[in-house]
């Protein structure tokens, strides 16, 4: 059956007249539907078809933000015209996007004699999905066999010991524990009468999970039962019939990792341009000559599109729109550090099939001693929708209380949301663009994107080589990066010695997390320009009181170090910390 007839067949399930066109394996959809959810479902139905390499979903739904997109486009065009003639420099590779993917590729490229620039539109790296995930380094059991995800996840996971050591990033292989309970195969209960249900759940299903993992190349998977489970997780539900234990699962602090990748890339010669937004491309025929931004044009021999949720828009601007991103929001709840020890592994309850809204979520410890619940998985039309609705908080609390019935759920100290960047084919898309010669797509990097990041970078650089980029190793590449020392973690002797050299080590600004002035100053020296950038690098304001005490003191330090009045200090991006008048100044 041809791709066309398969697509036609898939579209028959929907009560709409959907037009489509297939070009080089990419399906373009057009038409109108009632709801956004249907827009997603149609895209997914087409994306599932074997042989489809991308789905560009141009279907409109009721409430499609036409006016808003028009305004956005006008603004972009204006910036393009204003800046296209101002040349900033000439680069071998320009990377678009400063998330974990972009910074990992930048660092990988910094091993070679190349001039590389990374462009990020925000005031810091890591501000998209990279800052708002649960920090889990997945073992690679979950992805479908044969996908790029499966391959890069397993490889990426294995690379983390060395990478984390080199970059001075905390990384712990805590292992994951997937519980099998009476709810695991609930959907199949009616086919499995009486004792069969428990038998299949406890004695057959775990082996299928193990087999799936083994086929993906994951090692060390064990199946445990009874006391074996509670020895690992003493407070987990006594309902568990069995558990799949995967020792290679790990955790790290995702924004610590991204900051470290960026710092190390810079140390090895990469330029990172913040507050630099791509607004178009200069092309000659099928070749990109320059990347136009709000600051001017970066001439480029190769361009890497690692723009996360915006990757489809960048692809469109570049002239090779081969996929549409359908943003998928994940909400996470964060619990007080005082609960450290309550949960020691990445724990979740297996459900087959997975319930729509909590796919992949669970309970994770963090490297700092907090505990996270979540994330959820909700399709949202707005790529920047990081709102958390009260109902979503309750939903998570309900969902996971079953596996930790006695958990002190009232000790939430924060919640947040990130937006994943899946395409409709749901696998990573890392390949040369089909209709532009020197553009590499690194798109659709959703979970397990963090776990795969080192392998994605390696794979992307291989792709660039196959596209003709010459990779000549740099003998003076330095893989090491020193972390910002933490007053809270060093020995008293070391702290005393540091204070004697620089008294700012003894000025404790954040009392919950014990962050000193010296750490804040060091974060600023390493490139932090906003309060949130400092928070992510030092853990200032990340504790029990959530910055109630230290925010103003940190703002004062930022103001002093950056040489701007305190009223101009920024929280993140365009958001000034204070918006009111200053005494003695004109309003």
């Amino acid at each position: 059956m041809s791709l066309e007839s398969k697509v036609r067949k898939a579209l028959r399930d929907f009560p709409y007249e959907i037009k489509f066109e297939v070009r080089d394996g990419v399906v373009f959809l057009d038409g109108e539907v009632e709801t956004y959810q249907e827009w997603v479902e149609i895209g997914l139905a087409v994306g599932r078809i074997k042989g489809v390499e991308g789905v560009v979903n141009r279907i409109r739904w009721k409430g499609y933000p036409k006016e808003e997109l028009k305004r956005k486009e006008e603004r972009r065009r204006k910036l393009y015209e204003e800046n296209k003639d101002r040349i900033i420099g000439e680069y071998d590779v320009v990377i678009i996007g400063g998330g974990v993917t972009g910074t990992a590729i930048a660092r990988e490229l910094s091993k070679y004699r190349l001039k590389v620039a990374l462009l990020e539109k925000a005031t810091d790296v890591s501000v998209g999905a990279s800052k708002a995930n649960n920090g889990m380094i997945h073992p690679g059991v979950a992805p479908k066999r044969g996908t790029l995800k499966a391959k890069l996840n397993v490889r990426g996971n294995a690379m983390y010991d060395e990478l984390a050591r080199d970059l001075g990033v905390k990384f712990k292989r805590v292992g994951s524990l997937w519980l099998i309970t009476p709810r695991t195969l609930q959907k199949y209960r009616r086919y499995l009468p009486g004792p069969f249900y428990k038998f299949v759940s406890a004695y057959i299903f775990p082996y299928l999970v193990k087999l799936k993992g083994m086929l993906n190349g994951v090692k060390g998977i064990r199946i445990i039962r009874g006391e074996g489970i509670w020895k690992l997780e003493p407070k987990a539900t006594r309902e568990a019939w069995a558990a799949v234990y995967v020792p290679s699962a790990g955790i790290l602090d995702p924004y610590e990792l991204v900051a470290a990748l960026a710092e190390n890339a810079i140390a090895n010669g990469v330029e990172i341009h913040l507050e630099t937004e791509v607004v178009g491309f200069i092309r000659e025929g099928e070749t990109i000559k320059g990347v136009v931004t709000n600051r001017g044009t970066f001439l480029a021999r190769y361009v890497v599109n690692a723009a996360g949720v915006f990757a489809d828009e960048i692809a469109e601007l570049a002239g090779s729109r081969e996929y549409t991103i359908h943003p998928r929001k994940g909400v996470i709840l964060l619990f007080d550090k005082e609960l450290e020890g309550w949960v020691n592994h990445c724990v979740t309850e297996l459900r087959f099939p997975a319930p729509a809204h909590t796919k992949g979520g669970g309970i994770n410890p963090t490297v700092h001693g907090n505990i996270l619940w979540g994330p959820t998985a909700v399709e949202v039309p707005d790529k920047t929708d990081t709102s958390v609705h009260p109902e979503e908080i309750e939903e998570i609390l309900e969902r996971y209380r079953e596996i930790y019935p006695d958990f002190p759920r009232h000790r939430i100290i924060r919640y947040f949301a990130g937006v994943r960047a899946p395409t409709f084919t749901e696998d990573f898309i890392i390949r040369p663009a089909k209709w532009v010669k020197n553009l590499l797509h690194v798109a659709g990097i959703q979970s397990p994107g963090l776990a795969s990041a080192p392998a994605i970078a390696e794979y992307a650089v291989e792709q660039l080589r196959s596209m003709g980029l010459t990779l000549e190793p740099k003998p003076d590449f330095n893989p090491h990066r020193e972390p910002i020392p933490r007053a809270s973690e060093m020995s008293l002797e070391e702290l005393d010695r540091r204070i004697k050299e620089d008294p700012r080590w003894g000025n404790i600004v954040c009392t919950c997390e014990m962050v000193s002035e010296a750490e804040i100053v060091e974060a600023i020296r390493r490139g932090a320009r906003t309060l949130d950038a400092i928070r992510r690098r030092t853990r200032l304001g990340m504790g029990t009181c959530q910055g109630g005490y230290c925010t103003l003191r940190a703002a004062e330090i930022l103001s002093r170090e950056l040489g701007v009045p305190i009223s101009q200090v920024v929280k993140e991006n365009g958001g000034r910390l204070f918006n009111g008048t200053v005494r003695g100044e004109e309003p």
């Binding site: 005082e338 920047t384 990081t386 709102s387 958390v388 609705h389 009260p390 979503e392 908080i393 939430i412 100290i413 924060r414 919640y415 947040f416 007053a487 008293l492 002797e493 702290l495 005393d496 204070i499 004697k500 008294p503 700012r504 003894g506 000025n507 404790i508 009392t511 919950c512 014990m514 000193s516 029990t544 009181c545 959530q546 910055g547 109630g548 005490y549 925010t551 103003l552 305190i566 009223s567 920024v570 929280k571 993140e572 991006n573 365009g574 958001g575 000034r576 910390l577 204070f578 918006n579 009111g580 008048t581 200053v582 005494r583 003695g584 309003p587």
Partner: protein, 401 residues
């Protein structure tokens, strides 16, 4: 400061450790009046009130360590050791007894599950007070204040006088819960708009607050469906309660009362770790600074007894909150002493009431009439020792009239 001054006055060798650059805690940002009505019989401003104790401290020549953070405390033995961190270095301080007076923290929006986004423009009331009074900067132009307690009202008046463009106060209760004088002087006198039975459901805005979604609530504070309303503003200030900053005490093994969220204490404000005392808002939230000072004086008396090795009761007498009592201190009677026991309790009801002290079998030990009690005002009652003599446990009830 009050505990240190009192102990130094008794002739003890006292070190006073403060994390900030100067003494006085948050009193420096409280430029409104109303402090000291009980102790000095006049309404001082926060800095004036703090100034009194600062003068005393300097007269007595206290050993004051400013800018000093206490990293860890070994409170187990007879000699306690503190490890401090300051710009002077890491130091160890040995003491026979410790009084913790580290106050409280403000509850933040995540603790009341406010939804929406997390942009710039969200503050706690204390942060705003500090910003305006010490830095001379207004947080924003169009302000929504969440919370009908004293701090919220005081900040509302302040921002009104400083000239913000608009201001509204919302709270879930039927009416303001702070002191009546504040309702009159801060809200009614300036016609500041307020909306009772209203809470913030979600915050809207990507980089800066653009507004909030307000929702009406019923008498159980449950949101009423379809009463959501968008309220445009660029600033949301949360004044939704104070919580004793008890994590440092928990870290040394002191027992914490889930009701007050402060340490469990005996009648001399001694925690469950012997020789470690607690005073002020760390124990429970005092509505009057004067009461907080009294708790420090009592703790200082306790330190004196502890250092003198005075006798403890063979069988401590538990104090338990009875009917219509939300919180109660002390939690037990533990020392042999002559002085009356000072108890503080937070009523769960409003109106004319009797405060009744009774034994475990219901026998009434003491009764006091109050013209007007309410949940937002901490009640103080003195109980003579003779009244409790022989009781195995003590309950305190509030009975409406």
């Amino acid at each position: 400061m009050a505990a240190a001054v009192k102990l130094a006055g008794k002739g003890y060798d006292v070190a006073l450790i403060e994390r900030k650059e100067e003494l006085g805690g948050i009193l420096d940002q409280c430029i409104h009046d109303g402090f000291g009505t009980k102790i000095f019989g006049k309404a001082l401003s926060g800095p004036e009130f703090a100034g009194h104790f600062m003068d005393e401290a300097s007269k007595l020549g206290l050993d004051v360590h400013l800018n000093t953070y206490v990293k860890s405390v070994n409170a187990g033995g007879d000699v306690k050791e503190l490890v401090t961190v300051s710009p002077r270095g890491v130091e160890r301080i040995k003491a026979r007894s410790i009084v913790y007076a580290i106050g409280c923290r403000e509850r933040h929006p995540f603790e009341i599950k406010v939804g929406g986004t997390r942009p710039a423009g969200i503050y706690t009331a204390g942060m705003v007070q500090r910003l305006v009074n010490l830095y001379g900067i207004l947080p924003g132009k169009r302000v929504l204040i969440v919370g009908g307690g004293d701090v919220g009202m005081i900040v509302a008046r302040h921002l009104y006088l400083e000239g913000v463009e608009s201001i509204t106060v919302v709270f879930p209760e039927e009416f303001f819960v702070g002191l009546p004088r504040n309702v009159q002087q801060c809200i009614l006198d300036f016609n500041i708009p307020f909306r009772p039975r209203t809470v913030v459901k979600e915050i809207v805005g990507k980089e800066r607050v653009e507004g909030v979604i307000l929702v009406k609530v019923d008498e159980n504070w449950r949101p009423i469906p379809s009463t959501e309303e968008f309220y445009p503003c660029d600033t949301v200030i949360f004044s939704v309660g104070l919580v004793p900053y008890a994590k440092k005490l928990r870290a040394i093994g002191a027992e914490i009362d889930p009701r007050t969220r402060g340490p469990v204490v005996n009648e001399f404000f001694e925690s469950t770790v012997r020789g470690v005392f607690a005073a002020g808002n760390l124990v429970q939230i005092f509505d009057y600074v004067d009461d907080a000072v009294e708790s420090a004086y009592i703790a200082a008396d306790g330190v004196e007894k502890y250092l003198a090795g005075e006798g403890r009761l063979d069988n401590p007498v538990p104090f338990k909150p009875g009917s219509n009592v939300r919180t109660l201190t002390p939690h037990r009677l533990e020392w042999e002493d002559e002085r009356p026991v000072v108890a503080f309790l937070r009523p769960a009801v409003e109106g004319r009431a009797w405060i009744i002290v009774r034994g475990g079998n219901g026998e009434i030990l003491k009764k006091e009439f109050r013209q007007y009690v309410r949940p937002s005002t901490l009640e103080r009652i003195e109980i003579p020792r003779e009244a409790i003599d022989g009781a195995e446990e003590v309950y305190i009830d509030v009975a409406g009239v």
